[in-house]
Amino acid sequence: MQRSDLIALIGLLAFALFPAIAWAGDSLWAVDLGSRMLIYGLAALALNLILGYGGLVSFGHAAFVGAGAYIVAILSFHSFMGGSFLGLPGTGSGFLAFPLAMLVAGGLALAIGALSLKTSGLYFIMITLAFAQMIYYLFISLPDYGGEDGLSLWERSDFGPLDIGNDILFFYLCLLLVLGFTLLKRRLIGSRFGWTLMGLRDNPRRMAALGTPGFRYQLAAFALSGAVAGLAGALLANQTEFVSPSFLSWHLSGELLVIVILGGIGTLYGPIAGAVAFLLLEFLLKEVTEHWQLFLGPILILVVLYARRGLWGLVEGRNGR
């Protein structure tokens, strides 16, 4: 077991015990912050799959997060108000809404990826942003679903015996999903698929010469990444019990990029560390001053300048990677 795995395991334990610690410290509100960290961490993990291992800078991942969030909210809306969504009746069941959120976000990513992967570099960054903006304006112009004002959830998704209306159980659902995807990603990166993806990142020309159908690998990774971002969106909608077009805005896409880079790009656990650090920093600065962004900005710049491999780079030390 490597040092980084050990530290990740300690982190996992800390998360597992977190609600108990918060309860003992009479600050259960912190569980909410913890859930948020996990959700952002999940979205960042998804982004890092294509960003860190595929070298594909998506500046539009908020579109998939937002799509997942809206699917949950829209289905919940119809289950209370009647009517149907694209011929589907509404439902409050998470067992139905969550997979559908992943399916829609993944399908969206498949379509956007298929068009965007024709470009590369900066053009790829911008075209993914363009598609995300299109989705953003699409949702702003849907008055039935709140338009600019957003849409409130009537209640959190129904997971049968697991009542995620309870913040602590919701926290553990988030933790479970983060853990599940981390393990899946770990398997994926060590597989032929992962190596091909990294090969395409490092030397696309050589991979083409080897006869690898690079487009298909990158597209598959992009779609998977979108689907998991959609899952994070479904969780986010449940956490805030509200969705709005701001879930789709380029600010969120930018924040996810920041979280991945902050945590350590192309590292397995870095994105979670980045999410924890980013949200914690935001939370602490907000406690101290109303002008917290004045300090958050320069801190980000300092991290870029002086911690080149992100926070997890510090954890892994010189020999890591």
Partner: protein, 306 residues
Amino acid sequence: MSLLLILEQLLNGLQFGVMLFLIAAGLTLVLGIMNLVNLAHGSLYMVGAFVCAWVSLQSGSFLLGLVAALPATALVGILVELLVLRRLYDRDHLDQVLATFGLILFFNEGVKIVFGARPLRLDLPGWLSGAVEILPGAPYPAFRLAIIAVGLLVGLFLYWLVTKTKLGMLIRAGASNREMVQALGVDIAKLYTLVFGLGAVLAALGGVMAGPIYAVEVGMGEPMLIMVFVVIVIGGIGSIRGAFVGALLVGLTFMLCRAFLPGLFGLFLDPVGAAAVGGALASMAIYILMAAVLIARPRGLFPAHG
């Protein structure tokens, strides 16, 4: 729908286009030459607008505001280049995105502290606040005509600067092969700072001219920045000519779709539906344009590097 209305919207599109061009010109030079993704370029546009509005409010003179805004923004831009951005030139685009994202947060909050959180009003000078009859019976705001004129003049100036002067030659050479220019003994650091200052002045000019039309408020640079990136990507990164064509295309598409799409859908949809669908498509139009251009020409219309 009359011919006059179409003409008016064409002019609006042209006006918006040249304003986009002012901001895009500086950004595409920085992107093309220094290979630097500067998300904070919109912040310079915001700083320009705020300085102009503040000085105008204090002095009662729009011109004084303009005269103050350009050097002040140039100074801010050069400071940012010296303190932060020059450390990022040899980093990859991602590091630049993160650092300049940090700059956006810093500038938004900084402007809020210096000028207050409320939007500022920027009044036009009397001689620009009237309307000009472009055709008999068709008045058009004089200020918007002035923007078009200034934008076209700046376009001509940049064309001259880039194609006819030594500085322009270095800029073009720097865009295609930076090591070679350096090897020829050009002080590339100074060149970069200069180009960055020029970009800041152009952004400030855009902000000054946007001020009287849109609100001078914190965060005003961000929607503009995204549109400007659309312009640059359509035109081809690093190309002034591309930025010009791209800006006019985006400006016209944006304004014409916004003016006419809802009416067009009104022909076969009920009014509420037409307004919703038309409005949504109008907002999406420039992104659809960009995606279409990139799918057909993955490096934009006028790619600068081969």
